[in-house]
């Protein structure tokens, strides 16, 4: 009864309402993100679909539960203190009793956090070890990932293929466990490989090889992007990981292993590819194109996107991109090459044959 009466007094109810609203504001985003799975976002860290991401998710949930409990307890005590011990109108003006401290209390609120820290540390150390020190099984796919300003190069030494920007891996479920191990290198500055639903991020640092692994449990497309600032177009260095059934993956590998298709429809463009010096940066296996500065284009048409996931791979977009890369990704390393509209159409016609 006493409490109810008190809540009717203006400052109390106002302050307590404000404080409750504040608590709601603080917790709502955490709650919203943790309760919903991929519908909210294709890059939700709380919608794991790969063993390392699941391990991280479990320890994260544990940390969230502990911190949420601490939050509720301390928040309530603080709220209680400022409401209960407020100066009331009409009270005598004397100072409250002076209390200088209490050693028992200090010991209590030292030991309790120490115990929490030790528990958190021990459970965390296990997860670190499990994820970081996992040894690759013999059937694992090995991929060397090279970060470039501002695109991704993927080399599959087991299959002798090189592709760009779209990583294909076999699905890894109970029937066939085929994790993919990524050896992370950089060709220029620091980058970071982050596909939230598959694993936490690991940096690509020049002259400092790192590794990480993923084993998607479902087929499908997983998105992400570079997570270490790497220069002008850091924002448009997107990641796409295609998890495929073993049969689809093998078919994809087989296609990538072929040299470029030689199609008469692309003859004119193929000559321009040399005269316009495209070959100096781009490889098209089976032709004079051997450059290694830009993405390998041997099977360009097998990709869904261009410019590191920025645009859908359509003839129109290819023309826009080649005409002026600056308009799409200002600061990208692809130069503007002077060419007529006819030449542009011919080059794109040639690229269209590279299936």
């Amino acid at each position: 009864m006493n409490l109810r009466n008190r809540l009717k007094i203006w400052p109390t109810s106002f302050v307590s309402r404000a404080v409750l609203a504040l608590a709601f504001c603080m917790l709502a985003p955490l709650f919203a993100a943790s309760q919903s799975h991929s519908p909210l976002s294709p890059t939700n860290i709380f919608a794991p679909d790969s063993t390392p991401a699941h391990s991280v998710f479990r320890i994260s949930s544990f940390v969230l539960e502990i911190t949420a409990a601490i939050f509720v307890v301390v928040f309530s005590l603080l709220t209680y203190a400022i409401i209960k011990f407020r100066e009331r109108k009409g009270e005598n003006a004397s100072e409250p009793p002076q209390v200088y401290g209490s050693n028992q209390m200090e010991v209590a609120w030292t030991i309790l956090p120490v115990i929490i820290v030790v528990v958190l540390f021990l459970s965390t150390a296990q997860v670190i070890h499990r994820v970081q020190d996992a040894v690759a099984p013999s059937g694992a796919i090995q991929v060397t990932v090279v970060g470039h300003q501002f695109w991704w190069e993927y080399r599959y030494p087991q299959y002798n293929i090189v592709v760009a920007n779209e990583l294909h891996v076999p699905v890894s479920n109970l029937s066939s466990s085929t994790p993919t191990y990524l050896n992370l290198l950089s060709g220029d500055v620091d980058h970071s490989f982050w596909v939230p639903r598959l694993a936490g991020k690991t940096d690509l640092i020049p002259n400092h090889p790192n590794t990480m692994w993923i084993d998607p449990q479902e087929t499908g497309l997983f998105l992400g992007q570079c997570a270490q600032f790497c220069g002008a177009q850091h924002a448009k260095m997107l990641l796409r990981v295609y998890s495929q059934s073993r049969a689809d993956f093998d078919r994809w590998v087989q296609n990538q292993q072929q040299p470029a298709v030689s199609d008469p429809a692309g003859a004119a463009g193929s000559a321009l590819f040399i005269t316009k010096t495209c070959f100096a940066c781009h490889t098209i296996r089976g032709t004079a194109g051997v450059g290694i500065v830009g993405p390998d284009l041997t099977h360009l048409m097998s990709r869904d996107t261009i410019a590191a996931g920025v645009l859908p791979n359509t003839p129109e977009n290819l023309r826009v991109w080649i005409r002026n890369p600056e308009a799409i990704k200002a600061g990208s390393k692809m130069p503007v090459i002077d060419m007529t509209d006819d030449e542009l159409y011919q080059i794109v016609a040639y690229l269209m044959t590279l299936r």
């Binding site: 985003p29 940390v63 601490i70 409250p96 002076q98 200088y100 958190l120 940096d203 924002a235």
Partner: protein
């Protein structure tokens, strides 16, 4: 006519002498005020930079700013905020109030004090000169665009042409000299100039915390300065410290930077604890709870903070043992930090809380710092950090610390000590408007900012695709930023208006207990007409309660 021609030169000469007085002053109060005003100027600048970035991020695929401009803005925003807003404003308050609180006439080395301020001020203007002189005249960049931690090898001449990075390096180097000068001065002042009776055990927590801050600056600015010199050697004398293509190490830069960068957070938050530790007792009408525990917690935070830096580097491929070690040390910081929060709460407990504006900001600080500490524990957890690191969750976390914690405590300090510095009270009415609008804006911006991080949004991207589901969160953040800007304008107006029209403060408007309230507002140049002598931690309490003085219980 004749009288006019005679009187004309007089005001000219006096205004000139006012300027010269400020230029050549070695008075710790004037230097403190210059630090504060200088920092407020840059606070407005960095706020405007933030608004531009928020507008750009308010919707997906926005084209309000170019990638280049955005990258410069976040680099300048971060660098300005740490080196030319937070540090000088906190040093300014320390400069002004530590000598007053310990009953000293001035800082230990007044000329070094003036030198430290002017060299720091020069560094800030040098950084902003990059907009003009960084190279736009020769079409090679302008302001720095490498991010405030400027990871190698992005800073190498191969990736950063022109002089934008040089402006960044030099201004950090020069600001570091100022910080080290200030830190030496602070340590010497606190250790050598305390008035009779003021043992270390009776020194206000404010002075204790500034002492620890000074110690931390000495230890942490040195590696930062060394790293800047190494970077310049790399850029101009063909050195290879951080050049991986010649056997140097990009990771080495990270270690150098973060052995500075993490303790730097404590360099900023410890003086902010100092404000809170002085203001909460006065407005709760109780002595600080657990003074010895507070001192112990502060010094242990200082020491532990030197062993946690690599928690910024969980994703760079350290061995699992290394990662586990830094998880432990980082989480350990939670223990002394928790002790502080509990002691502040225990100070309020059993008191009579007055909700004046300084106290409102302190209460905001307590709740927000609690939240910031807890998201800090999430980030300390290496596996969780593999997901959260370098995402907007981190941006939300450290803005919770810096805005929700440090800036709120700075606002509290302004409302509390402005009467002492100017002799006039700030308007309570405007202060409450400022508080509530700023609280709403702060939570709109930074609570929602956690969400896009959890949904996979990395920091430092100038735009993002629409299909990621980040748009709505970012829009709310941007709206909140405008609300904060309105709150800040009220604050600025309040400061200017009250300087001329505010009610006179008198010596001791808050009925407080530390020595600065025993002298006039503003204090005379010599601070105290008679050297004070104290017998307890609250000398003014002893005077006000002769029958029940503190020294009987300490």
């Amino acid at each position: 006519m004749a009288s006019e021609s005679i009187s004309l030169p007089v005001p000219r000469e006096s205004s000139r002498s006012v300027v010269l007085d400020w230029l050549f002053t070695v008075d710790h109060k004037k230097i403190g005020l210059m630090y504060i005003v200088y920092a407020l100027l840059f606070l407005v600048v960095m706020g405007i930079e933030a608004m531009f970035m928020r507008i750009q991020l308010s919707r997906p695929d926005n084209s309000f700013l170019s990638a280049e401009t955005f990258n410069r803005l976040f680099t300048m925003h971060g660098t300005t905020g740490v080196f030319f807003v937070a540090m000088p404003i906190l040093v300014g308050f320390g400069n002004y109030f530590v000598p007053l609180m310990i009953g000293a006439r001035d800082m230990a080395f007044p000329r070094l004090n003036a030198f430290s301020f002017w060299i720091t001020a020069f560094a800030g203007f040098l950084l902003y000169a990059s907009f003009l002189a960084g190279g736009p005249l020769r079409q090679v960049g302008s302001a720095p665009d490498v991010g405030w931690f400027a990871y190698a090898p992005l800073t190498a001449t191969a990736f950063s042409a022109g002089h934008s990075t040089d402006f960044w390096t030099l201004s950090i180097l020069i600001a570091g000299i100022g910080s080290i000068g200030g830190a030496i001065n602070m340590i010497a002042t606190v250790l050598c100039l305390r008035c009779p009776g003021m043992t270390l055990n009776r020194m206000p927590l404010f002075a204790w915390m500034n002492l620890v801050m000074g110690g931390l600056i000495l230890v942490t600015i040195s590696p930062l300065t060394a790293a800047q010199i190494m970077l310049m050697i790399d850029r101009y004398l063909s050195g290879h410290f951080f050049d991986p293509s010649a056997g140097g190490s990009a990771v080495l830069w990270m270690h150098f930077f973060w052995i500075f960068g993490h303790p730097e957070v404590y360099v900023l938050i410890i003086p902010s604890f100092a404000f809170i530790s002085e203001i909460i007792p006065v407005f709760s009408r109780k002595a600080i709870f657990g003074y010895p525990a507070m001192v112990a917690a502060t010094t242990s935070i200082g020491f532990v903070s030197l062993g946690v830096w690599a928690h910024h580097m969980y994703t760079v491929g350290m061995p699992s043992y290394g990662n586990a070690f830094f998880v432990f040390t980082t989480m350990l910081v939670a223990v002394p930090t928790g002790i502080k929060i509990f002691n502040w709460m225990a100070t309020i407990w059993g008191g009579k809380v007055r909700f004046a504006t300084p106290m409102l900001f302190c209460i905001g600080f307590l709740f927000q710092f609690l939240m910031a500490g807890l998201t800090g524990i999430m980030l300390a957890d290496a596996p969780f950090d593999w997901q959260l690191g370098n995402s907007y969750f981190v941006v939300a976390h450290f803005h919770y610390v810096i805005v929700g914690g440090i800036l709120f405590s700075i606002f509290a300090a302004f409302y509390y000590w402005y009467p002492k510095m100017t002799g006039r009270m700030l308007s309570e009415k405007l202060g409450k408007w400022h508080f509530w609008i700023f609280v709403i804006g702060f939570h709109l911006t930074f609570d929602t900012m956690h969400a896009p991080g959890l949904l996979g949004m990395p920091r430092r991207i100038y735009t993002y695709p629409a299909d990621r589901g980040w748009g709505a969160w970012n829009l709310v953040s941007t709206v909140g930023a405008f609300v904060q800007a309105i709150g800040t304008l009220i604050f600025v107006f309040n400061m200017i208006y009250s300087y001329f029209k505010g009610p006179l403060a008198g010596n001791d408007p808050w009925d407080a207990w530390t020595l600065e309230w025993s002298t006039t507002s503003p204090p005379p140049e010599y601070n105290f007409a008679v050297e004070p002598s104290v017998r307890s931690r609250r000398p003014l309490w002893d005077i006000k309660h002769p029958q029940d003085p503190d020294w009987k219980y300490e």
